[in-house]
Symmetry: C2
Subunit: 496 residues, 2 copies
Amino acid sequence: VACVFMCCLIGTLSSPDPRVRKALIELEASMQTGGQMVLTDAEQRLDALLFEMKQEEIFRRDFPPAMHFFSAKRLIQRSPIFSLLQKMPKGGALHVHDFAMVDVEWLVKNVTYRPHCYMCSTDEPSFRFIFSSQWPKPLPRCSPWVLLENLRSKMVNTTDLDNSIRGNLTLFTDQDPEVAFPSQDVVWDRFEQAFRVVWGLVTYAPVFRDYYYQGLTQFYTDNVMYLELRALLPEVYELDGSTHDRAWTLKTYQDITTQFVSKHPDFFGARIIFTNHRQANRSVVAEAVEEAMKLKKDFPDFMAGFDLVGREDQGKPLWYFRDALSLPAEKGVTLPYFFHAGETDLEGTEVDQNLLDALLLNTSRIGHGFALVRHPVAKDLSRKKGVAVEVCPISNQVLKLVKDLRNHPAAALMLENHPVVISSDDPAMFGASGLSYDFYEAFVGFGGIKSHIGSLKQLAINSIRYSSLSPQQQKEALVLWQKRWNTFVTEIPLNH
Amino acid sequence: VACVFMCCLIGTLSSPDPRVRKALIELEASMQTGGQMVLTDAEQRLDALLFEMKQEEIFRRDFPPAMHFFSAKRLIQRSPIFSLLQKMPKGGALHVHDFAMVDVEWLVKNVTYRPHCYMCSTDEPSFRFIFSSQWPKPLPRCSPWVLLENLRSKMVNTTDLDNSIRGNLTLFTDQDPEVAFPSQDVVWDRFEQAFRVVWGLVTYAPVFRDYYYQGLTQFYTDNVMYLELRALLPEVYELDGSTHDRAWTLKTYQDITTQFVSKHPDFFGARIIFTNHRQANRSVVAEAVEEAMKLKKDFPDFMAGFDLVGREDQGKPLWYFRDALSLPAEKGVTLPYFFHAGETDLEGTEVDQNLLDALLLNTSRIGHGFALVRHPVAKDLSRKKGVAVEVCPISNQVLKLVKDLRNHPAAALMLENHPVVISSDDPAMFGASGLSYDFYEAFVGFGGIKSHIGSLKQLAINSIRYSSLSPQQQKEALVLWQKRWNTFVTEIPLNH
Ligand SMILES: [Zn+2]
Ligand SMILES: [Zn+2]
């Protein structure tokens, strides 16, 4: 409305009025995420500092958000803005996957060094792992199993082996990423491959528990206070080959969360979004939805909802599963959805309709929503219904949707204060960790010099506001966050 | 409004209604450029053909709009969509620069083979040219002049020399473009360098005339019927070293246009937008504006208006020149502006304010407007005031604003039917020619499978509707275009 008024004003002018110009510039600034935030004195001091840092960073020859994250990572680590963002209480991480939470160094140096860890080599070449009390049965299309303990004991130096294992657990590489991953097909193959490598390690019950605890620790250390984890809830196995069911897996997540929170009272907690692969057929998805309803009933506070995962362009569109996904509504059961949608750059395909369909299926949030700016009706709906977009900048770049993160469509969304949260998707796969790297890309890359401390504050608040927590829980989480935020904004400028 | 209604409808649904879904999909489709175009039977037949072609093209491994144009060019040339777009009457080209209209092959094979053509080598290394009846005075930081006629007569084979000259007249290269042009600084340096090489050739009066005639021919051959040329109107020289003033240059453009139109009655004509470099100081720009007012008075029908050119990020912002640019309004003289603005990915700099300032200065169109989606107030103004954005996809890609053209911000603009026209900026510099390559990128890259014959029709109509032609002239141009369009849509499906 303000703008329509301004527009009228302008039509009548012959030479530009500096006051109108000022008003329009301020109007535009106020429209962005956090643009209407009233800042305290401490926040203003911190903002002045941030502005200086940005000025320096943005005119550098190597501007990290314009580069591939694999090449930019070291530059980001040296950035004073990044170290500030690490300290910043960022609220919640709402889009993170179960087996890509923990940096792979821990998997290599801790997990693969545990006893009873067997490895075989596939001809991709890649690895598979299993923990077992007995020599495990051979795996099709894999070399005979070797016990890592034996193998390492025969080696003078295990560096090469460990490097080789590490290289298979993540996409991150020191090579030129454009050469290593020339196309979306290649990078998605390698991405899914890496999950198959991780699988045998993290679905072993003792590792499963430690991995999740370690994941919470890493996010907590990165000043994240809450987590919504997309989890496949796989069968978890014991050393003797026996397995646990989904409810056990979910219960284990809950127990460990409780344990973690009791040791870290300023961590608010975590919830699980049960996920199924989108390449499954209709009956499998229908079963998963049924099970999700049951789990939601049994774990009403811990289970947040349901989602479909995997490469959208290769999977079935949401509409294909409409009957299965309509089951809860038909039965009058509440099962919130958190659909991945619009993680594509193919315009006008069936899959490209996922954004609208996610909204029609009453999704609570949209995972990625990369294509949202190309869907004005869906965009409008998402805004009006307050359905936040979970933006994962590094993931989108590594999976080759966008090269220069200044061109990420969320830049435009944030300049219109579209409901967004920033998340990290699969940090371990991308060589990132926690949320800070993605916050850096969003803050410096999307916003340029325009985004400020108010933008950061709004993003943190959004991550609570658009979480699956109840209004009462959100209030409590906000109080907790605000306390840490106040300390943050007061202390940072003192150290500079 | 339709959408708000739909949104209400959705909120009340539990499981998605296929009729609502269909209505929303149709609503979104109708919102795009050309989405409300009513198609004739012939157009529908052509559209079906186009749809088939797109289906094939879009799922290819090497998708041209996702690649750098230098690597994509050969693929595009083999595309049946491209050959259709070449035949399509595209209306006007509204953003083309004077000395990058004609493919460089013509400069090498025709112009540099003319008598009296001298060349020297700079240490960049690059070349400079001059035509002269006497041996020309040495140029600072250039080798002694050689007469090309003499040089070539001593050579058995002139291929290497010609290749070397060609390579300096254009950015286009067979090398890996990412290696040849690693950064915006490098590519802009080479871009401006190439204009300095061309300069001595094209400002020689006989070449100047032939070059423009040849340019018109190439656009006409590409089925463009009207041109608005951004022209520096330089001093043009004769063989004896004497020079002509700006009015002469403008008059020459006018005469040759008239001559061309008389030979090609289905070509509607051309108009000139006088341009000055934005790195000039205030008094130079003030003088240029004064001269532009005079030229507009002397050539009211042929001179369209005024613009500032050159790399925005390096030049002064428009606001710096506000006094000079307000002169016409103050004097009550009409001087339409066609400002380049928003050709940047630096967010929040002074230069990044150019979009808003161009609108405040009542610009008639916006050149590039690449950053428009990051300026919601300016975007809204541009839409409400009907200020079209001149989108030049290949230029933006070669000058490194965007890599994958599916991510070009104009994709989102076109999906909201923002007023846009497609143009080619400096086709000779990019190894393109006419408009068809840029139409291909826009049609296939921005629109994916969604854009259709209606989008193309709307783009062609936009190029007349948003031209500087008077309403009466636009009507005439549209009649001429419609006639050719009808033939096009009728004949193409017959040949398939
Ligand atoms: Zn994800
Ligand atoms: Zn231009």
